[in-house]
């Protein structure tokens, strides 16, 4: 298992700094199928269709850095785990 090549979806990831730099919104176009479930569930209406295409040639999503509060609902409802919200630790 460990000798196998890394899965193709790891090659590309688009990141956006959101919530005043306190978090990073990462989307893996190699996993995103463009279903739009995250876009409808976003309580802030922060997600919109992106120019970047996903694994099936459908649009992926991109967050509005002003609106996104990094609540993580999109990450939770994504059936493909294509979205990762990474909270940035404050420098100590």
């Amino acid at each position: 298992m460990s000798t196998a090549a890394a899965p193709a979806y790891l090659k590309k990831v688009y990141t956006t700094e959101v919530n005043k730099g306190k978090a990073v919104f990462a989307i893996f176009p190699g996993l995103c199928k463009g279903c739009g479930l995250c876009k409808e569930k976003c309580p802030e209406g922060a997600l919109s269709w992106s120019e970047k295409l996903g694994v099936y040639g459908t649009p992926t999503v991109t967050p509005d850095p002003e609106l996104c509060k990094a609540c993580g609902i999109c990450e939770r409802v994504c059936p493909d785990c294509a979205i990762a919200i990474i909270r940035v630790d404050k420098e100590k």
Binding site: A4, P7, Y9, L10, V13, T15, V24, A26, F28, G30, L31, K33, G34, C35, G36, L37, K39, E40, K41, V55, Y56, T58, E75, R76, V77, C78, P79, D80, C81, A82, A84, I86
Partner: protein
């Protein structure tokens, strides 16, 4: 900058992703809940996962656990056999509503009546999705499918099946029956975790029905998909726990 990785459950097989389900399919969410529950209980090395015929069989390489794929609804007796041969294992019978309620319902009924110590997860998307969206036992009255183009007529085809209610009625003490929904992910995960814990404690039959989405055959966009599962489906299929072993209520 550290390398960013997808937040997949550790029990998932990362090499088979993106998985084979349609865009927006609820199977991914049910399996995510199951994967997170397996991770939290730390039982990945002793889980045996059995998948059925139908869309659910596309999960045959989903997890890094031992997996068996059987015929319609027969995943229940196969898992019963595995559990009887090695009671230390944690077995999960994973099926759709067509396999579990129509073609293989006798196995579900008999395993529940015998109170076998296994966990069943049944995914209900109100149609036979893999064959093109025909009417299933769970199609709701008036719902349009490929074989009911004017809506399901209950005079002619009867009423949909309510699985957890049936399992709660026919099982003995120690059984667990609940219905969750992929629209309420945390609740669904809690039910699946309780069902696994119930099996590990050896109390009895554990059954979770998960309401799921099927945008391909419902012919809905994302907003209509959420509306259908949250409003239309929960009207007919109420969420909640129908049977909980004594002393294990919330």
């Amino acid at each position: 900058m550290v390398e960013i990785l997808p937040k997949m459950p550790k029990s998932w097989n990362p090499e088979s992703k993106p998985h084979k389900f349609c865009p927006g399919c609820g199977h991914g969410l049910v399996l995510k809940a199951l994967g997170q529950a397996i991770d939290e209980l730390g039982i990945q090395d002793r889980v045996v996962f059995g998948c059925d015929i139908g869309c659910s069989l596309l999960s045959w390489d989903f997890f890094n656990v031992d997996t068996v794929q059987t015929h319609h609804g027969r995943t229940t007796p196969v898992m019963v056999g595995i559990k009887r041969a090695n009671p230390n294992l944690v077995v999960v019978a994973y099926m759709g509503d067509g396999g579990g309620y129509a073609i293989g319902s006798q196995h579900l009924v008999n395993a529940a009546t015998r109170n076998e110590k296994i966990t069943c997860i049944l995914v209900n998307n109100t149609n036979y999705a893999m064959t093109g969206g025909q009417m299933a036992p769970t199609t709701m009255p008036g719902q349009k499918t490929e074989t009911t183009p004017y809506g399901r007529d209950v005079e002619e085809t009867g009423y949909p099946m309510l699985g957890p209610e049936m399992v709660a009625a026919i099982t003995r003490e120690g059984a667990y029956a609940a219905r969750g929904s992929v629209a309420k992910f945390a609740q669904l995960k809690k039910y699946i975790k309780k069902a696994l814990e119930n099996q590990m404690a050896g109390r009895g039959f554990s059954f979770v029905e998960a309401l799921s989405t099927c945008p391909t055959n419902w012919r809905t966009n994302a907003a209509q998909t959420w509306q259908f599962i949250e409003e239309t489906m929960t009207k007919y299929f109420p969420l909640g726990e129908f049977k909980v072993p004594e002393g294990k209520e919330d």
